[in-house]
Amino acid sequence: MKALYFSWVRERIGKAEEEIVPPENIKTVAELMAWLSGQGENYAAAFANIKTMRAALDHTHVRHDALIQNAWEIAFFPPMTGG
Protein backbone atom coordinates (compact mmCIF):
# COMPACT_ATOMS: atom_id res chain seq x y z
CA MET A 1 0.00 0.00 0.00
CA LYS A 2 0.98 3.59 -0.48
CA ALA A 3 2.00 5.60 2.60
CA LEU A 4 1.99 9.40 2.60
CA TYR A 5 3.63 11.66 5.17
CA PHE A 6 2.92 15.34 5.74
CA SER A 7 4.35 18.29 7.67
CA TRP A 8 6.94 17.32 10.29
CA VAL A 9 6.13 13.62 9.86
CA ARG A 10 7.41 13.93 6.27
CA GLU A 11 10.44 15.89 7.44
CA ARG A 12 11.42 13.41 10.15
CA ILE A 13 11.01 10.35 7.91
CA GLY A 14 12.73 12.16 5.08
CA LYS A 15 10.29 11.34 2.32
CA ALA A 16 6.80 12.37 1.23
CA GLU A 17 5.57 8.95 0.15
CA GLU A 18 6.57 5.35 -0.36
CA GLU A 19 5.20 1.90 -1.03
CA ILE A 20 5.07 -0.16 2.17
CA VAL A 21 4.50 -3.92 2.59
CA PRO A 22 3.64 -4.54 6.23
CA PRO A 23 3.55 -8.13 7.53
CA GLU A 24 0.16 -9.87 7.38
CA ASN A 25 -0.35 -9.74 11.16
CA ILE A 26 -0.61 -5.90 11.02
CA LYS A 27 -4.34 -5.24 11.10
CA THR A 28 -4.87 -1.77 12.62
CA VAL A 29 -3.47 1.72 12.13
CA ALA A 30 -1.89 1.53 15.60
CA GLU A 31 -0.14 -1.75 14.69
CA LEU A 32 1.11 -0.23 11.44
CA MET A 33 2.53 2.79 13.30
CA ALA A 34 4.33 0.47 15.75
CA TRP A 35 5.76 -1.54 12.85
CA LEU A 36 6.84 1.61 10.96
CA SER A 37 8.60 3.06 14.00
CA GLY A 38 10.83 -0.06 13.97
CA GLN A 39 12.00 0.67 10.41
CA GLY A 40 14.78 3.06 11.37
CA GLU A 41 15.70 6.03 13.55
CA ASN A 42 13.90 8.46 11.24
CA TYR A 43 10.65 6.47 11.58
CA ALA A 44 11.15 6.12 15.32
CA ALA A 45 11.49 9.92 15.57
CA ALA A 46 8.40 10.53 13.44
CA PHE A 47 6.23 8.17 15.50
CA ALA A 48 7.77 9.05 18.88
CA ASN A 49 4.65 10.82 20.09
CA ILE A 50 1.90 8.53 18.85
CA LYS A 51 -0.83 10.48 20.68
CA THR A 52 -0.57 13.52 18.43
CA MET A 53 -0.36 11.50 15.20
CA ARG A 54 -3.37 11.63 12.87
CA ALA A 55 -4.09 9.08 10.19
CA ALA A 56 -6.30 8.88 7.12
CA LEU A 57 -7.23 5.75 5.18
CA ASP A 58 -8.17 6.42 1.57
CA HIS A 59 -8.72 10.16 2.26
CA THR A 60 -10.86 9.63 5.36
CA HIS A 61 -9.80 10.49 8.91
CA VAL A 62 -9.60 7.36 11.07
CA ARG A 63 -8.86 6.51 14.67
CA HIS A 64 -5.81 4.48 15.64
CA ASP A 65 -7.93 1.39 16.24
CA ALA A 66 -9.33 1.45 12.68
CA LEU A 67 -8.75 -1.67 10.57
CA ILE A 68 -6.59 -1.13 7.52
CA GLN A 69 -8.22 -3.90 5.47
CA ASN A 70 -7.99 -3.21 1.73
CA ALA A 71 -7.06 0.48 1.89
CA TRP A 72 -4.90 1.56 -1.04
CA GLU A 73 -3.50 4.63 0.74
CA ILE A 74 -2.64 5.56 4.30
CA ALA A 75 -1.48 9.01 5.36
CA PHE A 76 0.18 10.15 8.59
CA PHE A 77 0.27 13.76 9.73
CA PRO A 78 0.10 16.05 12.78
CA PRO A 79 -3.14 17.85 13.77
CA MET A 80 -4.22 20.12 10.95
CA THR A 81 -3.66 23.87 11.00
CA GLY A 82 -5.46 25.11 7.90
CA GLY A 83 -8.17 27.72 7.64
Binding site: H59, H61, P79, M80, T81
Partner: protein, 154 residues
Protein backbone atom coordinates in the same frame (compact mmCIF):
# COMPACT_ATOMS: atom_id res chain seq x y z
CA UNK B 1 -30.95 20.05 0.06
CA UNK B 2 -30.40 21.93 -3.20
CA UNK B 3 -27.45 24.14 -2.34
CA UNK B 4 -24.96 24.88 -5.07
CA UNK B 5 -21.54 23.87 -3.72
CA UNK B 6 -18.27 25.12 -5.16
CA UNK B 7 -15.01 23.89 -3.62
CA UNK B 8 -11.49 24.64 -4.78
CA UNK B 9 -7.94 24.13 -3.48
CA UNK B 10 -5.53 26.37 -5.34
CA UNK B 11 -2.22 28.20 -5.28
CA UNK B 12 -3.66 31.42 -6.72
CA UNK B 13 -5.55 34.15 -4.89
CA UNK B 14 -9.29 34.68 -5.25
CA UNK B 15 -11.82 37.46 -5.70
CA UNK B 16 -14.45 37.15 -2.97
CA UNK B 17 -16.99 39.35 -4.79
CA UNK B 18 -16.70 37.38 -8.03
CA UNK B 19 -17.15 34.11 -6.12
CA UNK B 20 -20.21 35.48 -4.32
CA UNK B 21 -21.68 36.70 -7.62
CA UNK B 22 -21.58 33.14 -8.94
CA UNK B 23 -24.02 32.19 -6.17
CA UNK B 24 -26.34 35.20 -6.37
CA UNK B 25 -26.39 36.05 -10.10
CA UNK B 26 -29.91 35.96 -11.48
CA UNK B 27 -31.40 34.73 -8.18
CA UNK B 28 -34.29 36.36 -6.32
CA UNK B 29 -34.41 33.94 -3.38
CA UNK B 30 -31.16 34.80 -1.62
CA UNK B 31 -31.59 37.36 1.14
CA UNK B 32 -28.34 36.85 3.03
CA UNK B 33 -24.78 36.35 1.95
CA UNK B 34 -22.02 35.81 4.51
CA UNK B 35 -18.43 35.83 3.32
CA UNK B 36 -15.48 34.93 5.52
CA UNK B 37 -11.93 35.65 4.41
CA UNK B 38 -9.00 34.34 6.44
CA UNK B 39 -5.85 36.41 5.96
CA UNK B 40 -2.19 35.84 6.73
CA UNK B 41 -1.10 37.93 9.73
CA UNK B 42 2.47 39.17 10.18
CA UNK B 43 2.57 38.24 13.89
CA UNK B 44 3.90 41.61 14.91
CA UNK B 45 6.25 41.92 11.94
CA UNK B 46 8.31 38.77 12.53
CA UNK B 47 6.51 36.67 9.89
CA UNK B 48 7.74 36.90 6.29
CA UNK B 49 5.27 34.33 4.96
CA UNK B 50 3.25 31.23 5.73
CA UNK B 51 3.97 28.10 3.74
CA UNK B 52 0.87 25.94 3.46
CA UNK B 53 1.20 22.23 2.71
CA UNK B 54 -1.85 20.15 1.83
CA UNK B 55 -2.91 16.62 1.02
CA UNK B 56 -4.07 16.83 -2.61
CA UNK B 57 -7.29 14.96 -3.22
CA UNK B 58 -8.22 14.56 0.43
CA UNK B 59 -8.17 18.34 0.94
CA UNK B 60 -10.87 18.90 -1.70
CA UNK B 61 -12.88 15.93 -0.45
CA UNK B 62 -12.74 17.06 3.17
CA UNK B 63 -13.81 20.64 2.34
CA UNK B 64 -16.61 19.23 0.21
CA UNK B 65 -17.76 17.10 3.14
CA UNK B 66 -17.80 20.23 5.32
CA UNK B 67 -19.87 22.12 2.75
CA UNK B 68 -22.32 19.24 2.38
CA UNK B 69 -22.63 18.97 6.15
CA UNK B 70 -23.34 22.74 6.37
CA UNK B 71 -25.97 22.44 3.62
CA UNK B 72 -27.63 19.56 5.44
CA UNK B 73 -27.79 21.49 8.72
CA UNK B 74 -29.07 24.82 7.37
CA UNK B 75 -31.31 25.74 4.42
CA UNK B 76 -28.57 27.10 2.17
CA UNK B 77 -28.83 28.12 -1.46
CA UNK B 78 -25.12 28.05 -2.05
CA UNK B 79 -21.67 27.50 -0.55
CA UNK B 80 -18.25 28.52 -1.85
CA UNK B 81 -15.13 27.26 -0.08
CA UNK B 82 -11.64 27.97 -1.40
CA UNK B 83 -8.39 27.16 0.39
CA UNK B 84 -4.98 28.19 -0.90
CA UNK B 85 -1.65 26.40 -0.53
CA UNK B 86 1.96 27.43 -1.15
CA UNK B 87 3.72 30.54 0.07
CA UNK B 88 1.41 33.28 1.35
CA UNK B 89 2.57 36.71 2.48
CA UNK B 90 1.13 38.77 5.37
CA UNK B 91 -2.04 40.56 4.27
CA UNK B 92 -2.82 37.98 1.58
CA UNK B 93 -5.96 35.82 1.77
CA UNK B 94 -5.64 32.15 2.71
CA UNK B 95 -9.20 30.87 2.83
CA UNK B 96 -12.65 31.94 1.64
CA UNK B 97 -16.00 30.62 2.88
CA UNK B 98 -19.24 32.01 1.49
CA UNK B 99 -22.75 30.94 2.42
CA UNK B 100 -25.97 32.10 0.77
CA UNK B 101 -29.39 31.67 2.32
CA UNK B 102 -32.82 33.26 2.44
CA UNK B 103 -32.16 34.56 5.98
CA UNK B 104 -29.14 35.88 7.83
CA UNK B 105 -29.17 33.62 10.90
CA UNK B 106 -28.68 30.51 8.80
CA UNK B 107 -26.01 32.10 6.60
CA UNK B 108 -24.00 33.28 9.65
CA UNK B 109 -24.25 29.94 11.46
CA UNK B 110 -23.30 27.94 8.35
CA UNK B 111 -20.27 30.11 7.53
CA UNK B 112 -19.04 29.91 11.11
CA UNK B 113 -19.55 26.13 11.16
CA UNK B 114 -17.74 25.74 7.85
CA UNK B 115 -14.68 27.58 9.15
CA UNK B 116 -14.60 25.65 12.45
CA UNK B 117 -14.83 22.40 10.49
CA UNK B 118 -12.17 23.44 7.96
CA UNK B 119 -9.73 24.45 10.69
CA UNK B 120 -9.75 21.04 12.35
CA UNK B 121 -10.66 18.56 9.60
CA UNK B 122 -9.20 19.81 6.32
CA UNK B 123 -5.66 18.44 5.73
CA UNK B 124 -3.58 21.61 5.58
CA UNK B 125 -0.49 22.43 7.60
CA UNK B 126 1.09 25.84 8.06
CA UNK B 127 4.75 26.54 8.62
CA UNK B 128 6.20 29.94 9.46
CA UNK B 129 8.87 31.65 7.39
CA UNK B 130 10.51 34.27 9.58
CA UNK B 131 11.85 37.56 8.27
CA UNK B 132 15.44 36.97 7.08
CA UNK B 133 15.52 33.40 8.42
CA UNK B 134 13.76 31.19 5.85
CA UNK B 135 11.58 28.22 6.77
CA UNK B 136 10.87 28.07 10.48
CA UNK B 137 8.60 26.04 12.76
CA UNK B 138 5.29 24.39 11.97
CA UNK B 139 2.24 26.13 13.40
CA UNK B 140 0.76 24.11 16.25
CA UNK B 141 -2.94 23.27 16.31
CA UNK B 142 -4.81 25.59 18.66
CA UNK B 143 -6.89 24.03 21.43
CA UNK B 144 -9.48 26.76 20.90
CA UNK B 145 -10.01 25.62 17.30
CA UNK B 146 -10.82 22.12 18.50
CA UNK B 147 -13.16 23.50 21.13
CA UNK B 148 -14.89 25.57 18.43
CA UNK B 149 -15.35 22.54 16.18
CA UNK B 150 -16.50 20.43 19.11
CA UNK B 151 -19.42 22.73 19.94
CA UNK B 152 -21.23 21.76 16.68
CA UNK B 153 -21.23 18.11 17.81
CA UNK B 154 -23.14 18.88 21.02
Amino acid sequence: MSARILVRVQKEGFDASAEAAVLTQGRGDIGALVSFTGLCRDEGGVLAALEIEHYPGMAEEEINRAALEAASRWPLEGVVAIHRYGLIRPGEPIVLAITASAHRGEAFAAASFLMDYLKTEAPFWKRRHLAGKGAGDWVEAAAQDHAAAQKWRA
